[in-house]
């Protein structure tokens, strides 16, 4: 017989099936390695970094006071008397207002997403891991929010609560919790079915320990990727709310608000009026492309 029985005597040494890999790399190390070798993501990441830096250092780099009005300097074109990017309908320097406007836009873009990722992430992980009725209760509640298009939902909530930066962020957070929750729940459900969770239970670990050591690390990737893609959506939604008068109040510089007020002057200085739109476009597309790069770097089949 040439089956396994002929191997009855123990093999003395265990030979290795594959030669050892030369570089031992952890998951996050390999993600950074792939990111470092992705020029597109790196390039757009640099632009994002520049925008963030400009917003943070706005008082240092803005050439003029963004609130300083001038009756004679209204709606001037590019380069008029040191106003590199012209002036708006109240004679305020466009470059300074764009730089300061980035602060509000980034705040509105990042903060709601981060808070929603935390709330939605926790709800999703708990629902996905516990399963059963808890999961049904959480996910059906989220489905109620899902029934409305996100823009409509944002407008409705903002309209009911009134404008302002705080209310705007609250609105956007509420809009983003359901999708974040769904992403976390899906990832958790997939992980929960794998044998290593059962193995962890067999080692005597409790639910919280398993979530902490075995679930969170696996859910973080998808949540992070999705959150990064939501930042650009959030910036756009925030601009939209401001444009409709439901977000930031004048005279605070905000790209959406600037677009709204300048649109009446589009035939006077079209290029200047388009600037806030260009800023929104560049920022959101940069965040989108960085998010795509992140997805490519993190979403590897192991």
């Amino acid at each position: 017989m040439t089956d396994i029985l002929t191997l009855r005597e123990p093999v003395a040494t265990f030979t290795e099936e594959t030669p050892p890999a030369s570089i031992v790399r952890g998951y996050w190390q390999s993600v950074f390695y792939r990111l470092r070798h992705d020029p597109i993501t790196l390039g757009f990441g640099a632009i994002v970094a520049l925008i963030v830096l400009a917003a943070v250092a706005a008082p240092l780099i803005a050439p003029f006071d963004p609130y300083a009005q001038s009756i004679i300097a209204r709606l001037k074109p590019f380069g008029w008397r040191d106003h590199l990017l012209g002036t708006d309908e109240l004679g305020r320097d466009m470059l300074s207002r764009l730089i300061y406007g980035g602060r509000v836009s980034l705040l509105m873009g990042v903060v709601p997403v981060v808070i929603a990722a935390m709330i939605g992430g926790i709800l999703g992980v708990v629902g996905g891991f516990v399963g059963g009725r808890v999961n049904t209760a959480i996910m059906r509640t989220m489905d109620v929010f899902y029934a409305f298009p996100s823009v409509l939902l944002a407008v409705a909530i903002a309209g009911a609560m009134g404008g302002g930066i705080g209310n705007g962020m609250l609105t956007l957070t509420l809009v983003f919790v359901p999708p974040m929750c769904r992403v976390a729940e899906t990832a958790t459900t997939q992980i929960r079915a794998l044998d290593f969770i059962e193995a962890a239970r067999a080692s005597g670990a409790g639910t919280l320990t398993i979530i902490r050591y075995h679930v969170l690390g696996n859910v973080l990737g998808p949540v992070l990727i999705y959150a990064s893609s939501l930042v650009s959506v959030s910036i756009l939604l925030a601009s939209g709310l401001s444009f409709l008068g439901l977000g930031v109040r004048p005279p605070i510089p905000d790209w959406g608000l600037m677009l709204s007020t300048l649109r009446q002057s589009i035939y006077v200085v079209p290029l200047v009026c388009a600037l806030p739109g260009v800023a929104i476009f560049i920022t959101s597309i940069c965040f989108n492309l960085v998010s795509d790069g992140l997805r490519a770097a993190m979403d590897v089949r192991m």
Partner: protein, 351 residues
């Protein structure tokens, strides 16, 4: 109902499967697990339907059966990863989960499991040494102690802890991953290791290495093994005793030699006949049995094997056969009417 065992003593019917060997480490009595079918009130998949056996200290018990016969469910019941609907589990002489017995947590310190899918049973985001150290850490060791245990156990399964410890599962081959899984299970120093198809996903050469590793570890660490597989050759190689399962029941149980050389149940005979043979003269053209196993939601009345049995008789369709001794003086049992000497059919239908 009492009967004489090999050493001449009369033993209780409940302990009929423990035959004069060393003290049992694990006793399963009438374990049952039914999974309710959604949308069909009262219907259930009878995955494990009244299974009893003992595992003696230091032995290897093999459990064989085709897909869907309840092997994996049984494995999970033995660790209380699934809670049995009925029946009793006795570990080291104490009932598990019952008042006055040992807690499930204690059971899980002393019994561990290795799963079939070596990749899915390791956390892809943890270096394998952390996966191995997780068990001891959960059981109360400090992080440093747990790491030291992980190093020791990794080298025992033939993986250099410095070379392989920091690696992630995707950087290991299937055989290496399964070794890590064995290390992970052994890290909490269990007495009983349940192996659910541990080598089915490995190719033949790696399979032999892992099986030999298990033999060595069993001897070194004084382990008791429950080895579940659909591969008859593998089970024959590792086991001392074998249980053959069919549709949630044990249909034949006995020493490995008796089962493989003198199979008594028609199902076991068919299983053995279905093995591929390297000898052209022994090749069979026709499958020994045909058809799929019946639906476990609605198992056939009487003997569960009767719709596929080549020797079926009238009694098989009505009466459910019990496990009975089929060889004089040997702990060899089969659940088949055709083997029931009370009916005067002790030697019918020999293969």
């Amino acid at each position: 109902m009492d009967y004489r065992s090999s050493d001449g003593s009369t033993i209780d019917r409940h302990d009929q499967y423990d035959h004069g060997g060393p003290a049992p480490l694990l006793v399963a009595r009438n374990l049952r697990k039914h999974f309710p079918v959604k949308g069909a009130r009262g219907k259930a998949v009878r995955a494990v339907d009244g299974v009893s056996f003992t595992v003696a200290k230091g032995e290897t018990l093999g459990i064989v059966g085709e897909s869907g016969c309840g092997k994996s469910t049984l494995a999970r019941l033995l660790l209380h990863l699934l809670v049995p609907d009925a029946g009793e589990l006795i570990f080291g002489g104490e009932a598990v989960g019952a008042a006055g017995g040992i807690a499930v947590k204690t059971l899980r310190r002393q019994a561990q499991m290795v799963f079939q899918d070596s990749a899915a049973s390791l956390n892809p985001r943890l270096p394998v040494r952390d996966s191995v150290a997780f068990g001891p850490f959960v059981q109360g060791s400090t992080k440093d102690e747990a790491r030291a245990i992980a190093r020791d156990i990794l080298s025992r399964v033939g993986l250099d802890p410095d070379l392989f410890g920091p690696r992630y599962p995707h950087e290991l081959s299937g055989g290496q991953k399964q070794r890590v899984n064995i290390a992970r299970a052994l890290a909490v120093k269990p007495r009983l290791l349940i192996l659910d198809e541990p080598v089915s996903a490995l190719d033949k050469s790696v399979e032999a290495q892992v099986l030999n590793l298990l033999r060595v570890l069993k001897r070194q660490l004084g382990l008791t093994l429950v080895f579940i597989s659909h591969d008859l050759n593998v089970v024959r190689y590792v086991s001392r005793r074998v249980a053959v399962m069919y549709l949630g029941r044990i249909v034949e149980f006995g020493p490995v030699k008796a089962i493989f050389e003198r199979p008594q149940h028609p199902y076991t005979q068919a299983l053995l006949a279905s093995r591929p043979s390297m000898d052209p003269a022994r090749r069979i053209e026709m499958p020994p049995i045909t058809g799929d196993p019946p639906n476990p939601i609605d198992p056939p009345a009487g003997c569960r094997f009767h719709p596929r049995c080549p020797f079926v008789e009238a009694i098989c369709e009505t009466a459910d056969p019990a496990l009975r001794v089929v060889e004089d003086g040997k702990a060899h049992f089969a659940a088949c009417h055709l083997r029931d000497r009370a009916l005067g059919r002790g030697r019918l239908a020999d293969a």
